[in-house]
């Protein structure tokens, strides 16, 4: 599946496209199919997101690339700052 992510312009927080807007939880992320580029162009223009891009995820919604898994989880070395500690960073 294809997900959209970026950072909130004012706060810098990592955000995920949920089909209607931007959520701080990857669990809310929606599969955008082949509409990613259109959505990103509109959202960037409206300043609702910054530095946005499209990523691939597996069928459970877990990003394929480790960098995006770390973005979704938060720093792996600060559990107290983790957004989603249950995310598996290293695939077994």
């Amino acid at each position: 599946m294809n997900l959209l992510t970026g950072n909130d312009l004012a706060s810098g927080d990592v955000v995920w496209w949920n089909g209607k807007g931007w959520s701080r939880q990857i669990g809310d992320a929606a599969d955008v199919g082949d509409r990613g580029a259109i959505i990103l162009a509109a959202e960037e223009a409206a300043r609702r997101v910054n530095a946005s891009y499209e990523i691939e995820a597996d069928t459970s919604g877990l990003p394929l690339h480790i960098k995006d898994r770390v973005r979704a989880a938060g720093p792996t070395v600060r559990a107290d700052l983790s957004v989603n500690p249950s995310i598996q960073i290293v695939k077994g």
Partner: protein
Amino acid sequence: MYKYDTFDQSIVDARVEEFRDQVKRRLAGEITEDQFKPLRLMNGLYLQLHAYMLRVAVPYGTMDSRQMHMLAHIARKYDRGYGHFTTRQNIQYNWIKLDECPDLLAELAGVEMHAIQTSGNCIRNISSDQWAGASADEVADPRPWAELLRQWSSFHPEFSYLPRKFKIAVIASDEDRAAMRLHDIGIQLIKQDGVLGGRVFVGGGMGRTPMIAPEINPFVRAEDLLSYIEACLRVYNRYGRRDNIYKARIKILVHEIGADSYRAQVAEEFAHVKTLGIDPPMAEFDRISAFFAPPAFEADAVDSVDRSDPDFAVWLDQNVKPHKQAGYAIVNIALKPIGGIPGDASADQIDVMADLAKDYSFDELRVTHAQNIVLPHVRKADLHSVWQKLNDAALADANLDLVTDIIACPGLDYCSLANARSIPVAQKIAERFADLERQRDIGELKLKISGCINACGHHHAGHIGILGVDKKGVENYQLTFGGSGAEDVSIGKIIGPGFDEDGVVDAVEKAIEKYREVRTEGERFLDTYRRVGADPFKEAIYA
């Protein structure tokens, strides 16, 4: 310490207000991210993996307690209660909000600090010896020269858009504690027949193409030094490559045209620059130097220390270094707790270090390129009190320069450029070698970890270096041996195939045990590696 004059303060204040307006326009949509990005970078504001990151300049790593307290305040008010001290002797905050950044910068400006030129293709923070003004082996205090270079390079119109970023270090002793020859320009102040001048090295650096700077001039008289450095920059600015970011650093230019050719061009340019009157009048240099006059040391300070507390004695032996003034010592605070994050300090710890500087070190602190903190001037009679207070704040790890005193970049836990995580590897190695007695038996061992080829964790200069790479989407770690950032400078060599996270920790341990097996009396790991070569270590690791 240098104090801003009204000119210094006004340009920093003006920059804050200029950035406030730029942020306002970005948030209002009047400028795009493509337009805004170079503006925020000029003010040290990056967009990293999880949030905006602000890099605050600490000129040549020197601060007073008021400034250090401000760093703690910023950690609490604008970040998440901590900061990360870097290999550029700066501090970074990982969770800054764009809309709050102008207020943050205004508070920083209130204590004569800023984030200007901590990013971008300009001359970055000038780095120096963290023991400047305290160590007996220096021929002069390098800080007035570093300050002169700071003033010269700040907003220098000709050098604001260089082909690539530019890093300068100034030291004043034969022992190199600042990785001087791994800078774009390294200056070693020396005396020749009683006359002060500088050995100038140009074209060093780490990154994807590590190089040791060759000596370009064995002696530039002090009164010519600024003009000479200007000439070095001018030749680079004219001929440095702008078509390929990976070949744009001055090390590539010097390497490609050769040190002799570069030297000749600098000499020609210097002859011209010297006619322009760039070097300051001696009265101005004396004005700057006066800020760095030695503090009022007690002439009769007690020159002995009670070593009856065994834990204190270990810390004393490992972390406290000789001072040029009898009765005083240099205290090194290792920000490397076992299992902790190298270079990180909580706001409370930053406050403790500020208070100790105020109470015991003539109100001075230094940040080191090894991501530690120094109290440069502590009375020997006060060392036990300082140690107790550090201990209460979990800042008394007695592991300076040992295998757990690891330099590590933020890596993939924070950095958008990284390919692999650095911090968890550092934590696992530290835990593996947590036994201080074992660490001390191993002796000096500089272990440095980078999460990508940009080498912010200085892995090329590690006695043992670890480079994290992305191998088909999986973190993989390459080991390099034999690097050094000190006066015996060298670039480490890859030892063999890489490892996963646990594998690299095992490999490091096997290499160190091999060292213990084959070392001779007094040899450090680096010395043994240089003597016996890589083969015994390869056999131990890959058997």
